[in-house]
């Protein structure tokens, strides 16, 4: 075989890298904004598209899909061709991939602040964007596999195993979790309800962390760490064992996000044990990275790139030990719903993802621009500010989470809660929120230092658009060497790699989700649970639009402290008409599952207008637009029809005459409000009426004696 010369196209690597940095800064600034809103609620500006509930989704999507997402593609478009000794197969597909992904992010930037959301965490984007994501993701996959097929290297390196597993698993997760029925161009309802929806969502949500924030980044680690350290990878057989163990075990662990919820116990237990079994496969990646630096530790002192990698790998190890421990029931009982969880998550994103990305940027940029880094000193400064930022971010949140959790659970000897007013437990930790915002600020300053360094480096060098390389293609006939490791077999068969990865990751999901869907006993029926009225359904959509579930859970766990505070613990059968489920994952405010009937209408009215008027010291935003906007009923009938199609028992008569039922209930609520509040100016079709209707319905169906409101409905 003759040696062949070919040219890598660095253009898309460079573009993805610029997008990484630009979206990274934007995504983290949004994060800082919402962090400050928790300290200074006035920063919500009384403006719908600037409120915490809406911006929180923008921050998470921006950090995950724009910041880390673009960096993954930059890493893949650089490392994949070089590991396979062939350029990316199609420049057109690369182009579609790049611009398509940026358009998707742009659409998120527009739709999320407008309240166009499916409400499912990290999958908030509405159905047309979901379809676009699927198409662009497949474009990426085709480009990758086409390149693999044209390779000049017979065997696939471990980085590529991780890329393949990432592609196939994210495709599976995204498609299944996004099964939703459109109501209009920008509104849909999840096909799943309640417990099933929660299970599918956290199967997705957990594995978005696993297969978007972990496996592709591990793939990048396996390329850039040995490159930067100029050391051989520590252990090939460790790569094999931890790769297959990781992708097989990860999928099962989703239910650990739902411990003590209405999810059946057996699924919760699976979530716990598979999380525990994940510790060592995860650590396999960490030690294979850290031990690759054996004999290069003297370089770590001087090289900012290696310093970033070392801290990134250490944070990865910390987060992947902490995660499984949080999956133990008794630790989860303390940590869940508190700021402990964001602290845990940010060790992963700021530490592992962020620092891996920064290391890659500092390593790659001088090579792309045929120069040396403008300033090593600035890069080292970035490292130290960033590290300090992570510490200031996470430590106060651990303290806050632990403190608040203990306050939630503290009882007086007479059986009443010591902190019966939820707000007391919030005001206690607001100083910690301030410190966290300081940590975020430091981290962003570090990034801005990097931006300066990047611009200076790029402008001092010349961009290397195409890069020459040569290699000998492998022949058709392969003679297996004696004593070959068995795993080499699959390393030269990319399609088998794809298929087996899919098989391995599909097992856990199927065995957890299918029984929850099919076996009736998992969700015992409660006769008295009825569908929402049409007005309540519209109110629920306002709740979704405003992102209330970002701060309020609707899932009372079977603990004495929660039953005393909120009422009877939540049962699986109560959520059968909840498309989508709204259990939430964080309690910045109190749980709302049994808020129905707890306060009079006037309380909610005043509270939504100005929370401080009813709860002095509250950090909840004001919602003045709910008092100005009229309820949009353009799609109301269609909503009922879609729900009926999903099995919610709305009768045809009800759907046809929805307007009558809607007006009747809103008039009743408005009249009651006029009675309770003097000189009230209120129209029956104000949005607030629908929201009050929904809130007053929450959790009352199973109460033995319904309130007046329930009878009225």
């Amino acid at each position: 075989m003759q040696r062949e010369t070919f040219y890598y196209n660095n253009q898309w690597t460079r573009n993805f890298l610029i997008a990484t940095i630009a979206w990274g800064v934007i995504g983290l600034l949004v994060g800082l904004t919402i962090a400050l809103q928790l300290v200074f609620p006035d920063l919500n500006m009384d403006t719908s598209w600037l409120t915490f509930g809406r911006l929180r989704a923008l921050h998470t999507n921006g950090a995950i899909f724009a910041f880390v997402g673009n960096s993954i593609f930059a890493g893949v478009y650089y490392s994949l061709p070089r590991l396979l000794k062939t350029p990316m197969a199609s420049n057109l597909l690369s182009k579609i991939h790049f611009w398509g992904w940026q358009l998707i992010i742009l659409s998120a930037v527009i739709t999320l602040p407008l309240g166009i959301t499916s409400s499912k965490e990290y999958a908030e984007l509405e159905w047309p964007i979901d379809i676009a994501i699927a198409l662009i993701w497949v474009t990426f996959g085709v480009n990758m596999f086409w390149t693999i097929i044209k390779r000049r290297e017979r065997h696939l390196y471990v980085a590529i195993w991780f890329y393949i597993a990432t592609f196939v698993t994210v495709a599976m997760l995204h498609i299944v979790n996004s099964i939703e029925i459109p109501v209009s161009f920008l509104k849909s309802y999840s096909a799943f309800a309640g417990v099933q929806d929660a299970l599918v969502q956290w199967w997705y949500g957990h594995n978005a962390v696993a297969f978007f924030l972990t496996t592709p980044v591990l793939g990048m680690m396996y390329y850039f760490v040995p490159k930067a350290a100029n050391r051989p990878v520590y252990s090939y057989r460790l790569s094999i064992v931890h790769f297959w163990a990781l992708i097989f075990l990860y999928i099962w662990a989703g239910p650990h996000h739902l411990l003590y919820t209405a999810l059946p116990d057996w699924a919760q237990s699976l979530g716990t044990v598979f999380s525990i079994m994940l510790i060592f496969p995860s650590w396999g990646g960490m030690i294979n990275g850290l031990l690759t630096l054996r004999g290069a530790w003297d370089k770590v002192r001087d090289s900012a790139v290696l310093k970033f990698f070392v801290v990134a790998l250490t944070c990865y190890g910390m987060a992947t030990l902490e995660g499984p421990l949080l999956s133990l029931r008794n630790i989860n009982a303390i940590a869940h719903y508190t700021d402990w969880i964001p602290a845990h998550v940010h060790i992963g994103t700021l530490g592992w993802n962020g620092f891996m990305i920064f290391g890659v940027v500092y390593w790659l940029l001088p090579r792309l621009y045929q120069t040396s880094l403008y300033s090593q000193k600035l890069a080292n400064t970035h490292f130290w500010i960033g590290t300090l930022g992570i510490i200031f971010w996470a430590l106060p949140m651990y303290v806050a989470g632990f403190t608040q959790s203990l306050m939630w659970k503290e009882f007086n000897p007479d059986g009443t809660l010591v902190y019966g007013n939820f707000l007391e437990t919030v005001t206690q930790i607001v100083p910690m929120y301030a410190l966290r915002a300081l940590g975020g600020t430091l981290y962003i300053i570090g990034m801005l230092v990097m931006v300066v360094n990047v611009i200076r480096t790029a402008s001092s060098g010349k961009f290397l658009r195409t890069e020459e390389d040569s290699a000998v293609p492998f022949g058709k006939v392969f003679e297996k060497p004696r004593g070959e490791h068995w795993h080499r077999w699959i390393e030269r068969r990319p399609i088998q790699m794809l298929v087996w990865s899919l098989v391995v990751v599909a097992i856990g999901g199927i065995l957890e989700i299918v029984p929850t869907m099919m076996v009736k006993s998992n969700i015992p029926t409660i006769e008295s649970v009825k569908p929402y009225t049409v007005l309540e359904l519209e109110g629920r959509d306002i709740y979704i639009r405003e992102g209330c579930n970002a701060c309020h859970s609707q899932m009372i766990r079977p603990f004495r402290s929660e039953v005393a505070r909120y009422g009877e613990y939540s049962k699986a059968g109560e959520f059968v008409y909840d498309h989508p489920f709204l259990w939430g994952s964080k309690r910045t405010g109190p749980d709302l599952h049994r808020v129905g009937g707890k306060y009079p209408h006037s309380w909610h009215y005043n509270h939504m207008l100005d929370p401080v008027s009813m709860s002095p010291g509250s950090i909840m935003p004001r919602y003045p637009w709910l008092f100005e906007n009229s309820l949009d009923t353009e799609h109301t009938q269609k909503k009922l029809e879609v729900m009926a199609g999903l099995g919610v028992p709305y009768e045809q008569e009800y759907i046809d005459n929805y307007a009558f039922y809607l007006d009747r209930q809103s008039a009743a609520i408005a009249d009651e409000l006029r009675e309770q509040i003097d000189d009230l100016e209120i129209k029956n079709d104000d949005e607030i009426i629908a929201l009050i209707a929904y809130l007053q319905r929450l959790g009352i169906d199973i109460k033995a004696q319904g309130t007046e409101l329930a009878e009225e409905n």
Binding site: P226, V273, N330, G415, A564, Y569, P600, S615
Partner: protein, 318 residues
């Protein structure tokens, strides 16, 4: 240290991890587990066990070394020198070397794979024994956990855990109620006169009531509490009941879950002292007129003068 000691160590680690996982497996409270003296005795005993296993192992090595043939001794010495070069000869370094089982950097060419990717070489070090054993232990944990929680059901389900917690709380509460004096409800509540207690009532009023009734009781969303007109009765018993059960139809929420009986008594008493005061921005009277003077007070020497004052103030308004 030869191969044999690896197994002692592995065994010790296994026992240790197993012991640590007991509270997690049976779902009991971690903190009470850590406070239990038995835990500590067991821990110290385990530490001694591990240490003695190593001492025995070391002694065995020594004996073996002395009875070895001469050639064997030389090989042995060479091995020890190599180990020293790899990272010191102290106990911890050797322990780590065993647990890590890494080929020394000088010899790594022996285990280098015969392939490279874009210049990236790969070694084929053994799986670190500590890692592998950890993985096995985590799998063992998983099997035991599933057996106990889902197959044998010897550990409580989440619902059973809840029932146990509630039952224990109920017993504790009853015990407390037996010994606790001064328990009041709306039939037995009387006006407090101790100034300190009234002050505590005032503090509760400020945090919980002032939003709707104004800081000085003059009313806002809720009615004026300083006049002698009452919507739901102006007796201390009526006020107590109104606070306790609320008047949901009118916007007054029930406070029984947020305030204890004693707290409600304090705040009710404070409210009674407001009658006749002059708020900054009084709301118009609502409800029926009630004789302003409290009829019943709890015996207390300190509070009498204040009570007279408020009564005087009320009379002066008439």
């Amino acid at each position: 240290m030869k191969n044999s000691s690896k197994y002692y160590l592995a065994f010790a680690l296994f026992v240790f991890a197993g012991a640590l996982s007991i509270p997690f497996i049976n779902g009991s409270d971690v903190s009470s587990f850590m406070q239990n003296p038995l835990t500590w005795i067991l821990g110290i005993a385990l530490a001694f066990l591990i240490l003695s296993l190593f001492a025995v192992s070391q002694a065995m090595e020594g004996i073996k070394y002395h009875i070895l043939r001469k050639e064997g001794r030389i090989e042995e010495l060479k091995e020890m020198e190599a180990a020293e070069a790899a990272g010191g000869d102290d106990f911890l370094s050797r322990l780590w070397a065993k647990l890590q089982d890494a080929k020394p950097i000088e010899e790594e060419s022996e285990i280098e794979m015969d392939h490279e990717y874009d210049g990236i070489r790969e070694l084929d070090n053994n799986l670190p024994p500590w890692w592998l054993w950890g993985f096995y232990i985590s799998i063992a944990f998983a099997v035991v956990y599933i057996l106990r929680f889902e197959v044998l059901k010897t550990a409580p389900s989440t619902a059973q855990e809840f029932e146990q917690e509630m039952a224990a709380a109920e017993i504790a509460k009853e015990e407390y109620l037996k010994t606790a004096a001064n328990l009041v409800d709306e039939t037995s509540v009387v006006m407090l006169t101790d100034e300190a207690l009234i002050k505590e009532g005032a503090a509760i009023f400020t945090t919980s009531c002032a939003v709707c009734h104004a800081a000085d009781g003059g009313g806002g969303v809720g009615p004026n509490l300083t006049d002698e007109y009452w919507l739901h009765g102006g007796d201390i018993k009526d006020v107590f009941a109104t606070i306790k059960y609320g008047v949901p139809a009118k916007g007054m929420i029930p406070w029984k879950d947020q305030l204890s009986a004693a707290e409600m008594q304090k705040v009710s008493s404070y409210i009674m002292t407001l009658i006749g005061t002059t708020p900054a921005d009084p709301k118009e009277p609502q409800g029926d007129k009630v004789t302003p003077v409290p009829t019943e007070t709890q015996e207390n020497t300190d509070g009498s003068s204040e009570q007279e004052e408020s009564a005087d103030a009320a009379l002066s308004l008439l």
